[in-house]
């Protein structure tokens, strides 16, 4: 096990910049998730850590050791690929034993370790089978067993669950997480699935356009998104965004969103004072908008608006309302199953303690920006 440090990593493919100056410190034994949409550079970053790609700029450090230009075999890393990449001409045993044979481990040690890994992944009875005789989930376990059998310093996983069906994915999520806790290996996990990231990661690094947008614990990422991208990417249904003009009057802040006005508590004053008269982006998650009678008793700072029901998604466990407020559609998530008529008027309350305000130009969260300013001063 080892801590991993990425220092100013840049990777270009022709004119395309895949990774654009990434700095990231990953702690020893940590499970960190690189989360982002397709083409954001997360897999390229992982491949740079594995040694499968050389960065154009920057350094990769394992502890104090600079491994930037070392080939994969000198890094003691293991990788689980999206397609599992298990070799179809080898039996499961030989697949798992391969890295040990390459590293010239004694035969008894190979046998001992293969059996240990197989037992850990509950595939002991499959050792004598060929990969084409296995299900998707079993192949995935073989790939993980092969990755952990060498007891790597760093375990890299590139969307390993994306080829599994929904039920198996949920099961494997928890199993992988438990396994990582058990063997305590530093793990870097790439996914575009925010649920996977939220449930598995000790920390999440959200990426977009080759850059890290925010690094933090899952709850931090969700509750205190650094910018519009993170706020919109994490969370289902997506956060509601609307433009509003800031009006500061006698220590009172009003966000004028043309259809309605929101009166913010004084807590926002230090952050929004300098934005008086300017347009900002306001964000609020669907579960922080409450229809009449659904507001939790703990929610004290509420601002009421009215809308017309445009569309209803009855999910059973939740009901998703699409409310037309005039010039925008607000998505509201209500716990439980509820009936609403299309076209009916519904009053909803915005939970002001969970409102997010972003700079219109930079799209950075003003609360996050303020926190950073306070921290740096």
């Amino acid at each position: 096990m080892v801590d991993v440090h990425l220092k100013g990593i840049v990777k270009r493919f022709g004119k395309t910049i895949a990774v654009n100056g990434i700095d990231l410190d990953i702690r020893d034994g940590e499970f960190i998730v690189l989360l982002g949409p397709s083409g954001c550079g997360k897999t390229t970053t992982l491949r740079i850590i594995a040694g499968l790609e050389k960065p154009d700029e920057g350094r990769v450090l394992f502890g104090d050791r600079d491994v930037t230009y070392l080939p994969p075999r000198e890094r003691n890393v293991s990788m689980v690929f999206q397609s599992y990449a298990i070799w179809p001409h080898m039996k499961v045993y030989d697949n798992i034993a391969f890295p040990l044979k390459i590293k010239k481990f004694p035969k008894e040690e190979i046998d001992k370790r293969v059996k240990w890994a197989a037992e850990l992944l509950q595939i002991s009875e499959l050792l004598d089978r060929y990969p084409h005789q296995l299900s998707g989930g079993q192949r995935q376990r073989v790939a993980v067993a092969r990755a952990i059998v060498v007891e790597p310093d760093v375990l890299l996983m590139d969307e390993p669950l994306s080829n599994l069906d929904a039920l198996l994915r949920v099961k494997m999520r928890s199993e992988l997480k438990k396994l990582q806790r058990r063997i305590k290996v530093t793990t870097i996990y790439v996914t575009h699935d925010q649920v996977e990231a939220m449930t598995m990661g000790d920390r999440i690094a959200v990426m977009n356009k080759g850059k890290i947008q925010q690094v933090g614990r899952p709850d931090e990422i969700y509750l205190k998104p650094a910018n519009v991208f993170v706020a919109g990417f994490v969370g289902t249904p997506q956060m509601n965004f609307f433009d509003a003009t800031v009006e500061v009057k006698d220590d009172e802040i009003i966000l004028d969103a043309s259809d309605f006005k929101v009166r913010l508590p004084k807590d926002y004053l230090p952050v929004l004072q300098e934005y008086n008269g300017k347009t900002v982006i306001v964000g609020i998650r669907p579960e922080h908008i409450y229809p009449e009678g659904h507001a939790p008793t703990t929610a004290k700072k509420l601002s009421w608006i009215e809308g017309t029901v445009d569309f209803v998604e009855a999910l059973g466990s939740d009901t998703i309302l699409h409310l037309n407020t005039g010039s925008m559609i607000l998505v509201v998530k209500i716990s439980g199953s509820h009936h609403y008529e299309i076209g009916s008027k519904v009053k909803v309350a915005l939970d002001l303690s969970n409102i997010h305000v972003f700079d219109k130009e930079s799209q950075v969260s003003l609360l996050y920006k303020k926190q950073r300013e306070v921290q740096s001063s």
């Binding site: 040694g51 990788m79 990449a85 179809p88 001409h89 391969f98 390459i102 998707g136 060498v150």
Partner: protein, 282 residues
């Protein structure tokens, strides 16, 4: 509904008639050769090969095998001596070359590949005179080694092209997984890529083997001594100037073609495995 069913039935009947007609036309010569080979010469001449009545014999096969002038036995020996190395050697070299073309970047790569394609498009007849002079100067004219060399060189181009296309289609992750696990280029090639390419290797080997085994043109050009004749030359030489023993010729032909047929049958499992088992989807 009934009209639709009638239409489907008519379509089914027409397709069957067409397919069976083509199959019968295609197999007719083979049936003719097979029948001629197991019937006495006198009966073939009198009744024709299509007559099922009369006697059946293996004499033609025995005579063709141990013919004192041109025997299939000697032809087999020479053909094996030529075909086996002329299949294995270019296969090995082409596999390495194809992998390099598929995976590595080097100067003049595109130009070299174009040269390869040009060689593939060149007719054999064009190369005979320079090859004759070359083999003669090397002391390999009328030698089986010379023929091995010619077939090896001739097979390299298309085999490299064929295998490169196959390697291009192999998922890179399969190799990268081995690289992360600590394998070097040679280990990746021999332990991962080559075993995974068995369907392609088997196909290439079968085609090249059949090509070399069935070759008549180069053998006729570069072999003079009947002791060096490969099986195709031996069988062709069984045809006398004034008398043609059709039974002998047919038996010799069947024995000559039986080896590639057997090879196809033996390698078939690799093609099947290639289709269903070895290509893993994630």
């Amino acid at each position: 509904m009934a009209r639709r069913r009638g239409k489907l039935l008519l379509k089914y009947i027409i397709i069957n008639i067409v397919v069976w007609s083509i199959a019968i036309i295609w197999t007719l010569p083979f049936i003719g050769v097979a029948m001629t080979s197991v019937k006495p010469f006198s009966e073939v001449v009198v009744h024709g090969w299509w007559s099922f009545i009369g006697n059946y014999t293996l004499k033609n096969f025995i005579d063709a095998w141990s013919n004192p002038m041109y025997s299939v036995a000697i032809g087999y020996r020479n053909s094996f001596i030529v075909t086996i190395p002329a299949t294995i050697a270019p296969l090995f070299i082409a596999a390495l070359a194809a992998y390099v073309f598929s995976r590595f970047s080097f100067p003049l790569k595109t130009l070299l590949f174009i040269v390869l394609l040009v060689i593939m498009a060149m007719p054999q007849q064009m190369s005979v005179i320079p090859l004759f002079f070359m083999l003669n100067s090397m002391g390999l004219y009328d030698k089986l080694q010379g023929l091995i060399l010619v077939h090896t060189a001739w097979g390299l181009a298309w085999m490299t092209f064929f295998l490169k296309n196959f390697f291009d289609a192999l998922p890179r992750e399969i190799e990268e997984a081995a690289r992360v696990d600590g394998a070097g280029d040679a280990q990746i090639f021999f332990k991962i890529v080559l075993p995974m390419s068995m369907p392609a290797i088997a196909s290439v080997a079968a085609i090249q083997f059949t090509w070399v085994w069935s070759d008549f043109f180069y053998a006729l050009m570069f072999l003079v001594n009947p002791d060096n004749y490969v099986v195709t030359l031996q069988v062709a030489s069984m045809k006398g100037q004034y008398h043609i023993d059709w039974g002998l010729l047919s038996a010799g032909s069947i024995m000559a073609m039986s080896v590639p047929l057997l090879l196809y049958a033996l390698l078939q499992k690799y093609y099947v495995r290639g289709m269903v088992g070895w290509t893993l989807k994630g």
